[in-house]
């Protein structure tokens, strides 16, 4: 495995992007935003898949399996929960009775 300097350029640039894109978030969206970004780091699932998809020993398979399970929970649960939260911000004008 070799690590290239390009990785660190990407890392540095992504720090700035991450900082900039959410710098104007209103307080009411803090919770959904945390939950949404929580779902995005579920991308670690891709790493888990790369590990689990290799032919290896039994221990590798067990570790890969658990990693894929955990990664999938992070992705599926994260996005669904965020959507449930955000659904509540939707206005429902037809529902008004008073």
């Amino acid at each position: 495995m070799h690590i290239t300097i390009a990785d660190f350029y990407i890392l540095a640039l992504a720090v700035f992007v991450g900082y900039e894109v959410i710098s104007k978030v209103p307080v009411i969206l803090h919770t959904p935003l945390m939950s949404g970004s929580n779902a995005i780091h579920g991308i670690v699932l891709v790493g888990a898949m790369l590990v689990a998809g290799k032919h290896g020993g039994r221990l590798d398979a067990v570790i890969g399996f658990i990693a894929v399970v955990l990664g999938t929970i992070n992705v599926v649960g994260g996005f669904l929960v965020t959507d449930r939260m955000l659904q509540m911000f939707k206005r429902k004008p037809a529902e008004k009775t008073s």
Binding site: I3, D7, I22, L33, I40, L45, L70, G71, I73
Partner: protein
């Protein structure tokens, strides 16, 4: 570049790039109320794209383990996301975050073991792997402990013992030393010890932090998992992991700082402050005085009369409202009062509840009209013209000690100035102190009346009483 960089590889890399762009756009859309839901959708499409692209990767040769794992994980994720109560959202996010951290830790472990077996482990590779394992492992156990504290499985009180900070620091240094050793002389038994140490460090990080600071901690651990993900991305030479992980790491850190700012605390005091420990000493002097003072209780009927004949009422919701699931009852009461000509507003403290925005989510669920939710900065100057402030299960965020008592651990935290209102009715289960564990002077003020009981029952009783007027 990979020598076997064929057309398929090109397509996969393009899909990864598109996924990374969708994550960035999604995150940006999530920071604005109008576009937030689309943002989440965009990010999930990006995720789907990345996962499908990975399935086509030539490195992936066996699908059995992957598909089985995805089926199990998908079912668990789906079930828990569907069934979780809105009030339990914060701890659910903590659990999902812990899952991601655990996955990053396991991926790092597997790569380390492969590197040892194949003899391909470079020093910088080992460094990155161990970093990912350390941060991922801490995030896993830290998140699970945060979940336990919020869910009431573990005491919410900070766990402190003498010399804690020193011992933790020594333990942390020892773990780093072990990591450095494993970097130079790779070995599997040492790796297991390092993993165990990382898991323990996560517990040690969260244990001394009280329940009131959990939102900040969850946000911090969220950025931890992001960084662990980025580390695995570097190890696996996978750029989309590096970008997305770093994106979350950076934005999560900013979000953590924003939350701290809303509470007027520094991240250092949250992590190392052991809130409860300070409090114990502070309330030592304060507690005796509290025992001598008495709060004024009010009957449901009297409270109903006060509310119905007020010109303006401000509802101040707190965690008690969430626990009692009283948001629908509150809206019913507010609508009744409005029909009687009372002007009703809701005062939203940025950190009321267990997470910033918690109250907004809860009240939105009950269809409370959005314009009635007023932010702290806007409502505070208005309190002196408000007839009745109705405090429902909020405590520390309305404690005037934050303004006046320099000895108080919450001194300096911005609060809602409900004590400026003409009258205050506090709905509370008992005189028990709030999360910070400190007594609240507001309850002993002459203008304050207490209505004890479960928030939902009390509000339903108020609704009945107002109807009967």
């Amino acid at each position: 570049m990979n020598p076997s960089f064929g057309f398929l590889e090109f397509v996969i890399q393009l899909a990864y790039l598109l996924a990374a762009i969708l994550f960035i756009l999604g995150l940006r859309a999530l920071s604005s109320a109008r576009t937030a839901r689309n943002g989440n959708l965009m990010a999930s499409v990006g995720m789907l794209l990345a996962v499908v692209a990975t399935l086509m990767d030539h490195q992936v040769v066996s699908y059995g383990v992957i598909l089985a794992g995805m089926a199990v994980g998908g079912a668990i994720g789906l079930w828990s996301a569907r069934t979780v109560q809105m009030t339990d959202m914060p701890q659910m996010v903590a659990l999902f975050n812990g899952s991601g951290g655990g996955a990053a830790m396991l991926v790092s472990m597997a790569e380390y073991m492969r590197g040892v077996k194949e003899g391909s482990l470079t020093r910088e590779g080992a460094f990155t792997i161990l970093l990912g394992a350390l941060i991922g492992g801490m995030s896993l156990t830290g998140s699970v402990l945060a979940f336990g504290k919020l869910q009431g499985l573990v005491s919410e009180k900070p766990l402190t013992f003498p010399m804690q900070r020193v011992l933790n620091l020594v333990f942390f240094a020892a773990t780093l030393a072990l990591g450095a050793y494993l970097m130079i002389t790779p070995g599997i038994p040492g790796l297991w010890a390092f993993i165990a140490a990382s898991l323990l460090l996560g517990l040690a990080l969260v244990a001394p932090i009280g329940g009131g600071d959990m939102p900040v901690v969850i946000s911090l651990l969220n950025s931890f998992t992001g960084l662990a993900t980025a580390a695995t991305g570097i190890v696996l030479n996978n750029t989309v992991l590096v970008i997305s992980g770093t994106l979350v790491g950076a934005s999560g850190t900013l979000l953590t700082l924003l939350m701290c700012k809303a509470m007027n605390r520094s991240i250092g005091s949250v992590v190392f402050g052991a809130f409860g420990a300070e409090v114990a000493t502070a309330s030592g002097g304060n507690g005796n005085a509290a025992g001598a003072r008495s709060a004024r209780e009010v009957s449901v009927e009297d409270a109903a009369v006060m509310l119905a004949y007020a010109k303006s009422v401000v509802v101040v919701p707190g965690y008690g409202l969430a626990v009692a699931q009283a948001q629908h009852s509150v809206r019913e009461l507010a609508e009744l009062l409005e029909k009687k000509g009372v002007q009703v507003k809701y005062a939203i403290h940025p950190v009321a509840g267990r997470m910033p925005g918690h109250m907004n989510v809860l009240l939105a669920e009950a269809n409370v009209p959005y314009p009635q939710l007023i932010d702290m900065e806007e409502i505070n100057p208005q309190f002196s013209q408000i007839d009745v402030a109705l405090v429902i299960g909020a405590n520390d965020v309305v404690n005037p000690a934050a303004r006046t008592d320099k000895a108080s651990p919450i001194y300096g935290m911005p609060i809602l100035d409900v004590d400026h209102a003409h009258h205050t009715i506090v709905l509370k289960r008992s005189m028990k102190p709030g999360f910070a564990g400190i007594d609240n002077d507001l309850f002993y003020e002459k203008k304050t009346m207490m209505l004890f009981g479960d928030a939902k029952d009390s509000i339903n009783n108020l609704v009945g009483a107002v109807k009967g007027l």
